[in-house]
Every structure is written in structure tokens, then in C-alpha cells.
């Protein structure tokens, strides 16, 4: 009896959807008694719709999720990350393979934390063989993390610093040049609180009395952003 895997591919690039299909096809060749039923979604609206429908029937087994997606029409969903959270809620058994071009530590960490995907592919790390390998690993022995992700995790584990979410967010915001005065809008804190936190971070990274720049460079070096 053939096992039918229901697959949902979410990506706004049609060519990538094609590639996923080819990869799955190739993978199916090496998996016995497996059939793949593939659906695609080119934007978050369609994706959400399909997820919602699937949640009421037999769901999806595997979902390829791109992080960089145009926002949904109602503005609720800003990225694939949000869809991932949604999937975790609606289809807790679905295996999510994040496939993204992002490789900045902060985002990767956030995604790992929020979505906890079974596969995490940094698009530029992989080639066709790896992609096929990833699909197989996710089906039989998840997780599959591509090289950059593994490197990042290793760096984090080896460092002594303990940063919470807000610390990371703060560092991230500073790194993209967000102004201090605008920070209270993105972080759930007052300016004073942000300042204090920043000073603590500087102490932690041993860059007291320096500008924020030093802090960011250090954080980057340590793999937090």
C-alpha cells in the first residue's frame, strides 16, 4: 500500500515551486511505496486558505514554507514565520520545511524558536542532491538543518551568553539602524528600559563606554544577530 504524502509548497517564485516539485519527484523515486500529492500556494492568502481547509480534513504531511512572502491582504501575516506559527496551531502534525534565503542569525534563531521546523534550508546552502536528501530526512528522520543553520547553532551553544528574546530583538533593531527614539514602538519597553538593557548588553559583551556600533559588531561576531 502506497503511502500518500500530502505536500503544500508555499513560495512566491513559480520557478522554485517547480524545483520543489522536481525534487519531490526525484525523492519519490528512492522511496518505496510513496506517492506525493502536491498543492502549491504563491502567496500567504492562498496558503492560509489551503491550510485552513486542510485542517478540517486530513491536513498536510509536509509543508515547504518560504519566509519571505508578500504580506497577506488583511495585513495579519507579514512573513512565512507567521504562517509557520499558524500551521503549528492548525496542523500540529505537519512537518514544516523552512526554505529561505535569510541567513542572519537573529531571524534564524527566531524561526527556530517560533516555528520549530523539521527542516531548515538556507536556499543558498543547498543543491539538488541536498534538497532531495532533506526531503527524505524530514520524512523519515527529522530534522534536517542545512549547513549555515548548524553552524549557527554550534556557535550559540559554545558561547556563555544568555540572551533573551528582547535582547536579541534589541540587538537586531540596533543593527538595522533603528533609532533609539523609535525603539519603544517595536519593543515592548520604555526608552529608559531599553537604555538599561543596552547597558547590560554592553557590560555582558565587555564593550562598556562604547558606542552601539561596537556592541552590534560584537553581537554579530558572537552569532546573536
Amino acid at each position: 500500500m502506497k503511502k500518500v504524502y500530502k505536500v503544500l509548497l508555499i513560495d512566491d517564485h513559480p520557478i522554485i515551486l517547480e524545483v520543489y516539485k522536481m525534487a519531490i519527484k526525484k525523492a519519490s523515486l528512492s522511496i518505496e511505496n510513496a506517492a506525493f500529492k502536491i498543492e502549491t500556494a504563491e502567496n500567504s492568502d492562498i496558503a492560509l486558505q489551503k491550510i485552513a481547509i486542510a485542517s478540517k480534513s486530513d491536513g498536510f504531511d509536509i509543508i515547504f514554507l518560504d519566509i519571505k512572502l508578500p504580506p497577506s491582504s488583511d495585513g495579519e501575516i507579514l512573513s512565512g514565520e507567521d504562517i509557520g506559527v499558524e500551521i503549528n496551531q492548525l496542523l500540529p502534525n505537519a512537518k514544516i520545511i523552512i526554505s529561505t534565503t535569510f541567513n542572519d542569525n537573529y531571524r534564524v534563531q527566531n524561526i527556530l524558536k517560533n516555528v520549530n521546523p523539521d527542516g531548515f534550508l538556507i536556499k543558498n546552502d543547498i543543491d539538488t542532491d541536498e534538497l532531495v536528501e532533506a526531503i527524505k530526512t524530514v520524512i523519515f528522520d527529522p530534522p534536517y538543518y542545512s549547513k549555515s543553520v548548524i553552524k549557527l547553532l554550534r556557535k550559540q551553544i559554545s558561547s556563555d551568553y544568555l540572551l533573551d528574546k528582547i535582547d536579541r530583538q534589541l540587538l537586531h533593531e540596533l543593527s538595522i539602524g533603528t533609532k533609539m527614539k523609535d525603539l519603544p514602538d517595536v519593543l515592548p519597553m520604555s526608552i529608559a528600559g531599553i537604555e538599561r538593557r543596552k547597558r547590560q548588553l554592553k557590560e555582558m559583551f565587555n564593550v562598556e563606554d562604547c558606542e552601539d556600533r561596537e556592541l552590534i559588531l560584537k553581537a554579530k561576531e558572537m552569532g546573536f544577530i
Binding site: I16, T101, D127, L131, I176, I191, E195, D209, E211, R213
Partner: protein, 688 residues
């Protein structure tokens, strides 16, 4: 008949003696010259002395005087020369050399005016007065005496001023302006009384007596003559003053028809021994007067004899006026005794003589007498008499008018001068007040301008800071825009392009390439190459993002811009070091002032220092921002004024920030400015 008893000559001799003494005393000169000077003066004074010497003959004296004049021309000291000139002029007058006198006196006057020697000016006027009086040019004489009087008065020389008044009184008496004469004499008397000049007082009283006699106020005339005689008691050198006064007194009594008293006085005068020797003129006058009085009283004893005696003396002396008087008296005498031909003869002779010497008074008297005696020609004589009398009166009136005018003009002049000086006073007070007001206005205006300037400066400062604020804002928004743009490009590359290439690459990878091994290998190679391209793009994208981090803070950027522009002016190299200064947390106030201070310092460096390298460093030390501006220029001496304003500005800026300012400069080594400013702990306080 001339009754002036005191010839001016004596006066002048006294005066010149005084003047001479003056000049001797006055010519103190430095020691080295003194001998030569004295010798020079001596030679001149010897010549003058010779000219004065009566025992020498007339020609000899004149020669001496000319020599003195010539010698004096070599005199270099102007004031000595001047006093000598005055002396020489006077001697010229004495020697009746009118051409010489006029020349020298004019010279003396000019020199006096040049030297502003008021006394000298007065002195020369005096000499002119004498000269013109001698020549009976009464108005000129009066004018010069008056000028002399004014000048003496001007230098407060009261004695000589009094003498001038006396001389003027004589002239006024001569032209029968008795009232005017009287006033002048009283003025002179008040001066002489004060100065206790008894002989001058005597002369004044004597003249006053004569004036009153002419005014036919005989009692007053007698009173003043008596006073003159009383005054004479105090005069040391009496000479024949007493006798002449007695003569005058006698004449008054004679006019009063008190013949007895007249005769007593004449006899009293004649009682003086040696009178004939001392003043033969007066002697002859007395004899004549006595005889005439006797004749008038009807006593004919010895009258004719005395007349002839007097006439003889007068004739021998060449005293023509006296001769005329004698002849007139004789004519009267003969007329009384009906010896008409002799009477007419004498009267006619008197008339002719009087006309010869131009003595109008005697001409008149002789004409009147002739008109009485010569019945045949009486009408013509009388007509002549009347005509002459009229014309004389007119002349005298004219002269009197002239005197009045001279005095009036002077009064007017004085009045005018007073008015002018009052005007001058008003003008000077007015101009002073105006000046005061003007300067006050100027001061007020200056103050207001200063205030305005201050206000303006303040406003400028404010707007400067606003501009700077705007500059910062603009700079930061510019930076922000730039960053956003970079971010956008970076994201576009990353998300869009990378994704697409990734898709394409994998799609290519999944293609089943049919062909030989070489083609498959090449295919793989190209796919790998695509992956490399992806990596490159990703790197570029990251670098674009990293620019955000490598980009400097706004403030440092602005300082950099400033230095970049300024360093081109004098071609220095610059270095900006930002050590740990967290500019985000530092207020705009500090940044603005730091910016201005740097600007000022760089300006100084450009202007004066000739620095090759400039280093600007920012440090955060404890809670202070520290700015250090270092150059390797020529430096300057502390306290030199050139950098004054710039340094003052910097200092004031730092003190506004409650900071510390320090400047060290070593000549030819460079200058270091260090500034510590406490960071306002606002942000930190709040965050803790």
C-alpha cells in the same frame, strides 16, 4: 598867549630815562653772550648819549644819532633793537629831524606790533603825539595820544595812561574844548592822586586853573591855581614852577579886573632871585604882564619902559609870540594916549608877525585892534577879523568833533568788542551745550547700537544653533535615507534575486542532461558557478547591510565634513579619533558647542598656525566628554591678542556648558586645546 607852564620835554626825558633803565634791566641774556651784548648796547647807547649831549653842536649830534641807528640795525635781539629804536626816534624828534623821526618811529612801531610789545606800541604813539602836537596837527596828535592811552591802559600802566590823558587835555584846551579838557584832567588827577605823583598833580591843577580862566570862571581858576601852588610844596624839583603859577594866578586876577591882586602876584614872582637867569622867557612875560596890568589899572608909571624892556628881551630871544604880545600892548598903550600912527604901526607889525608865524589868535587880536585904530581901513580889518574868527571857530569845532569822533569810535569799538565777546561767550556756551548734547546723543546711540548688537548677536547665536540643529537633522535624515536605500537594495538582492537564481539553479540541476560525460560535467560546473554567484550576491547584500554599522554617527560625520572642507584651505592633514564617546546619548547643546569650538579652532589653525597635522579626539572619561584639538603649528604666546576673540568665544562656550577649558601652546611646537564637559546625566538618571 601860551600859558602852558610845563613843556612836555621834561616828561619825556623822565620817561625815556625810565625806558632806558628798563631796557638795561630787561636784556638779561645767557652768560656767554653777555659781554658782547653789553659792548654792543654800549656802543649804541654811547652814540645816543652823544646825540643827547647839548654841549655838542647840532650837526655832530645828528651824526651820532644816525650812527646809533646804523649800529642798531645790526642788533639781533629784536626787543633790544626795539627799545633802541624808540630812543633813537625820540632823539630824532628832539633834534627836529622830522624825516628821520617819522622813519624810525614807524619802524619802531612796526617792530613793536610784530613783537606784540604793547608798551612799545604805546610808546611810539606817544612819540607821534608829541611830534604832531609840535606841528600843531591837533587831531593827529590827539589820535596818537589816545592810542597811547588805550595801550597803556591795556597793560595797566596807569601812570603813563594818566600822562596821556593830561596831554589830551592840553590839546582840547588848545582848541577851546574846555569842558572836554576839564573831564580829562579830572580823570588824570584821580590817577595821579592814587599814585602820589605830586608834580603831575601840580601840572594838572595848573592846567585846570587855566581852563577855568578861559571859561571865565575866575574863582574856580584861582582855587585850582592855589591848589597847584599848595601841591608844589611836595614837589622836590620846583624850578620856576612857583613863579609860573604866580604868573598864571596874576593873569586870572587881571582878567577878573582885580588888578591889585594881579600886581601882587606878578611882583611876588618877580621877587625870586635869579629868575632872569633861570627862565628869562618867564621873566620877560612877567614884566610885560605886570606892565599891562598897571596900564589897565590906569597906572602909567614905568609902563612904557617895562614894555620896551620886555620887547627887547623877547626880540633878542626870537620869541615871536612874545614880541607880538608886546607890540599889541604897545599899540594899545599908544592908542590910549592918541599917538595913533605909532599905535597903528605897532599893531600892523604885530599883525604881520602873527600872520608870518601863523598864530591865529594873535592875528585875530591884532586885526581887532587895527579895526579900532585905523578908522580909514576899519571895515576891511573888521571883515578880515570876522572871517578869520568864523573860519577858526569852524576849524576848532571840526577838530572838537573829530576828538569826539575818535573817542566815540573807540567807545563804539569797545562796545562792539564787548558785544562781540558777549556773542563769543554765547556762541561758545551754545557750542559747548550743543557738543554736550551731540556727545550725549552719540553716547545714547552708541549704547543703543551696542544693545541692538547684543540682541542681534544673541539672535544670531540662536539661529546659528537652529541652523546647526537643522544641519544635524538633515544630515541624519540624509543618512537615514541612504541607509534605507541600501537596505532596500540589499533586501531586493537577497530576497528577490537570490531566490530566483536559487530556483533557476536547482531547476537546472534537476534537468536530466542527456549527453556525454563532458557535457554533464560542464552542466554541473555551470550550476556550481550559479551557486557561487549566489554567494557573491549574498556577500554584497550583507556588505550593503553592514555599511549601516560601519557608517559613523551623525555628529562625527558633520565634524568630518567640516575638517574635510577646512583642511583644503591651508592643506593640513587631519585625524578624528572617537574614543568611546557615545554620541547618541549626548545632547545637541554639547554637540553644537563642540562643533563651533572646533570650527573656531580650525579657523585659528588656518589663519595663524601653519599646522601640517591636526588631531581631534573625543573621549568619554567618567561622565565628561573630552574634546582635544591638537596641532603642530607655530603656536602662540599666551595672552597675545591675535587669538583673543576666538579663544574668548571658546571659553565662553565651554563655560556655558559648565565645562573646563585649557589651552597649551609651545612656540613652534603647536597648540593643544582640551575641553572637558560633563554630560548632562538626564538619560542615565532616567534609565536607572
Amino acid at each position: 598867549m601860551k600859558t602852558r607852564p610845563t613843556p612836555n620835554k621834561l616828561l619825556f626825558q623822565l620817561f625815556f630815562l625810565a625806558l632806558f633803565t628798563f631796557s638795561i634791566i630787561g636784556c638779561h641774556t645767557p652768560n656767554q653772550d653777555i659781554v658782547a651784548k653789553i659792548a654792543e648796547i654800549d656802543s649804541i647807547s654811547i652814540w645816543i648819549q652823544n646825540a643827547k649831549n647839548v654841549s655838542l653842536d647840532f650837526r655832530n649830534r645828528k651824526q651820532s644819532l644816525y650812527k646809533a641807528y646804523q649800529q642798531n640795525n645790526f642788533q639781533k635781539n629784536d626787543s633790544v633793537k626795539n627799545s633802541n629804536l624808540a630812543k633813537i626816534a625820540y632823539e630824532g624828534y628832539e633834534l627836529k629831524d622830522s624825516v628821520f623821526f617819522l622813519k624810525v618811529n614807524l619802524e619802531a612801531q612796526k617792530l613793536s606790533i610784530k613783537l606784540r610789545d604793547t608798551f612799545g606800541i604805546a610808546d611810539t604813539h606817544w612819540s607821534y603825539g608829541m611830534y604832531y602836537l609840535e606841528n600843531e596837527l591837533y587831531d593827529s596828535a590827539y589820535y596818537h595820544y589816545y592810542e597811547a592811552y588805550k595801550n597803556f591802559q591795556g597793560i595797566n600802566h596807569e601812570y603813563f595812561a594818566g600822562k596821556m590823558l593830561y596831554n589830551m587835555a592840553i590839546i582840547q584846551q588848545d582848541v577851546k574844548d574846555y569842558a572836554g579838557s576839564e573831564i580829562l584832567i579830572f580823570q588824570a588827577i584821580s590817577i595821579f592822586k592814587k599814585l602820589l605823583k605830586n608834580d603831575d598833580l601840580y601840572r594838572c591843577y595848573n592846567l585846570l586853573g587855566t581852563v577855568f580862566k578861559h571859561m571865565q570862571e575866575y574863582d574856580k581858576a584861582i582855587m585850582y591855581h592855589t591848589k597847584a601852588l599848595e601841591n608844589l610844596e611836595n614837589v622836590k624839583q620846583k624850578g620856576t614852577y612857583k613863579e609860573s603859577s604866580l604868573n598864571n594866578l596874576g593873569l586870572v586876577y587881571q582878567n577878573k579886573r582885580d588888578y591889585k591882586k594881579a600886581i601882587t602876584n606878578f611882583n611876588k614872582a618877580l621877587g625870586k632871585r635869579d629868575l632872569k637867569v633861570q627862565d628869562i622867557n618867564l621873566y620877560s612875560k612877567l614884566i610885560d604882564n605886570l606892565a599891562y596890568t598897571k596900564f589897565l589899572s590906569g597906572d602909567t608909571v614905568n609902563v612904557l619902559q617895562d614894555y620896551n624892556k620886555s620887547l627887547l628881551i623877547r626880540d633878542s630871544l626870537g620869541y615871536i609870540s612874545g614880541v607880538i604880545t608886546s607890540k599889541l600892548h604897545l599899540a594899545e598903550f599908544y592908542a590910549k594916549y592918541e599917538v595913533l600912527d605909532k599905535a597903528i604901526l605897532n599893531a600892523d607889525e604885530a599883525h604881520k608877525l602873527a600872520e608870518d608865524v601863523n598864530n591865529n589868535r594873535d592875528v585875530l587880536a591884532s586885526l581887532l585892534l587895527l579895526s579900532k585904530l585905523d578908522t580909514k581901513n576899519a571895515p576891511s580889518y573888521f571883515k578880515n577879523y570876522a572871517d578869520l574868527s568864523d573860519s577858526l571857530q569852524i576849524v576848532e569845532r571840526k577838530i572838537r568833533d573829530k576828538f569826539t569822533r575818535i573817542r566815540f569810535e573807540t567807545d563804539e569799538y569797545i562796545e562792539k568788542t564787548e558785544m562781540l565777546s558777549a556773542q563769543k561767550m554765547i556762541i561758545s556756551i551754545g557750542s559747548f551745550v550743543a557738543l554736550l548734547i551731540l556727545s550725549l546723543l552719540y553716547f545714547l546711540n552708541a549704547q543703543r547700537t551696542k544693545n541692538k548688537e547684543l540682541v542681534f548677536e544673541k539672535e544670531q547665536q540662536k539661529s546659528n544653533e537652529e541652523i546647526y540643529s537643522l544641519m544635524l537633522k538633515q544630515q541624519s535624515s540624509l543618512e537615514e535615507g541612504r541607509l534605507k536605500e541600501r537596505q532596500r537594495i540589499s533586501e531586493d538582492l537577497h530576497d528577490g534575486v537570490l531566490g530566483k537564481i536559487f530556483g533557476t539553479r536547482l531547476a537546472l540541476g534537476f534537468l536530466n542532461i542527456n549527453g556525454d560525460d563532458e557535457t554533464i560535467a560542464k552542466h554541473k560546473l555551470y550550476v556550481d558557478e550559479l551557486q557561487n554567484i549566489e554567494k557573491e550576491i549574498r556577500t554584497i547584500s550583507h556588505e550593503l547591510k553592514n555599511e549601516i554599522l560601519s557608517s559613523q554617527t551623525d555628529f562625527i560625520k558633520i565634524v568630518e565634513n567640516l575638517l574635510e572642507a577646512q583642511s583644503k584651505i591651508s592643506n593640513f592633514k587631519y585625524k578624528i579619533i572617537n574614543n568611546n564617546a557615545a554620541w547618541d546619548s549626548i545632547g545637541n547643546k554639547i554637540k553644537i558647542n563642540f562643533y563651533r569650538i572646533i570650527q573656531e579652532a580650525i579657523q585659528n589653525i588656518n589663519k595663524y598656525s601653519k599646522a601640517k597635522n591636526v588631531k581631534i579626539a573625543f573621549d568619554l572619561i567618567e561622565n565628561s566628554v573630552c574634546l582635544t584639538i591638537e596641532d603642530d603649528g607655530v603656536g602662540f604666546e599666551a595672552g597675545s591678542k591675535n587669538n583673543g576673540i576666538g579663544l574668548k568665544n571658546m571659553r565662553s562656550r565651554v563655560s556655558k556648558l559648565n565645562g573646563n577649558f585649557n589651552i597649551e601652546s609651545v612656540t613652534d611646537k603647536g597648540t593643544t586645546i582640551s575641553i572637558f564637559v560633563p554630560v548632562e546625566p538626564d538619560n542615565y538618571e532616567k534609565s536607572l
